[in-house]
Symmetry: C2
DNA sequence: TGGCTACATGTAGCAAGACGACGTGTAGAC
DNA sequence: GTCTACACGTCGTCTTGCTACATGTAGCCA
């Protein structure tokens, strides 16, 4: 997929992949690869800053684990993150309807 | 619609609205409003620079008209612009499939 | 005549955000 | 002992859409 097309939709992806489960950053990248059949291979320089941003926004909460000697920062959705995810999904539907409508007119 | 969500898709919109017809900048803005049922109301500071950019890329060609004393720069798709539009449409379908797939998983 | 609105084009500077390149460190396999 | 996978992070760059501003015509209405 063309680079940078994601712009503006990354937050939605991150929230969606954390819906109902806790994951650490590296696992989030893998989960997105898996769910997109390999189409999404986000670089760490994209994902880690975005996770911090979402945490600052109050949509994610994180805590440190240590698994077999390796430190992981594990993220989960907050209540407000769940609401944000619902809003992002609604925005996505509207967005695709509008743009798709123009492109296929 | 949330500001800036357009990012990365504006080119596709502009090419699509010029598919099969010639329009000047102001009319392009109106045509996008019409086709989107008012959802898209792009500011001139967004559209005019983008049209120049697409022309520099060789996807649009323009010429000046004068209609009842007013000067208009009328744009049309070039051959390479038509190809670009087809590519943009294909990208759009892939993009929505990938992101939509993750959001609705 | 003066002012308002619609029509019409443009520029400059800002801000956000995704990305590439880089830096750091552990565990385990070979 | 070196290499790969795992794991986290930062910094600087670049693109690009937007706000605000600047300019000018045509036509209507008071």
């Amino acid at each position: 997929m063309k680079a940078d097309t994601l712009r503006g939709h990354l937050d939605a992806l991150l929230l969606a992949v954390l819906d109902g489960r806790k994951l650490h950053g590296y696992a989030i990248i893998e989960a997105l690869q898996l769910r997109s059949d390999g189409a999404l291979d986000l670089p760490t320089g994209t994902v880690y800053p975005a996770l911090r941003r979402l945490e600052r926004a109050g949509w994610l909460a994180s805590e440190w684990d240590v698994v077999s000697g390796r430190k992981r920062r594990t993220y989960r959705l907050t209540r407000s993150g769940e609401q944000a995810l619902a809003a992002e999904r609604a925005d996505w539907r509207e967005f695709t309807a509008v743009i798709g409508g123009v492109l296929e007119a």
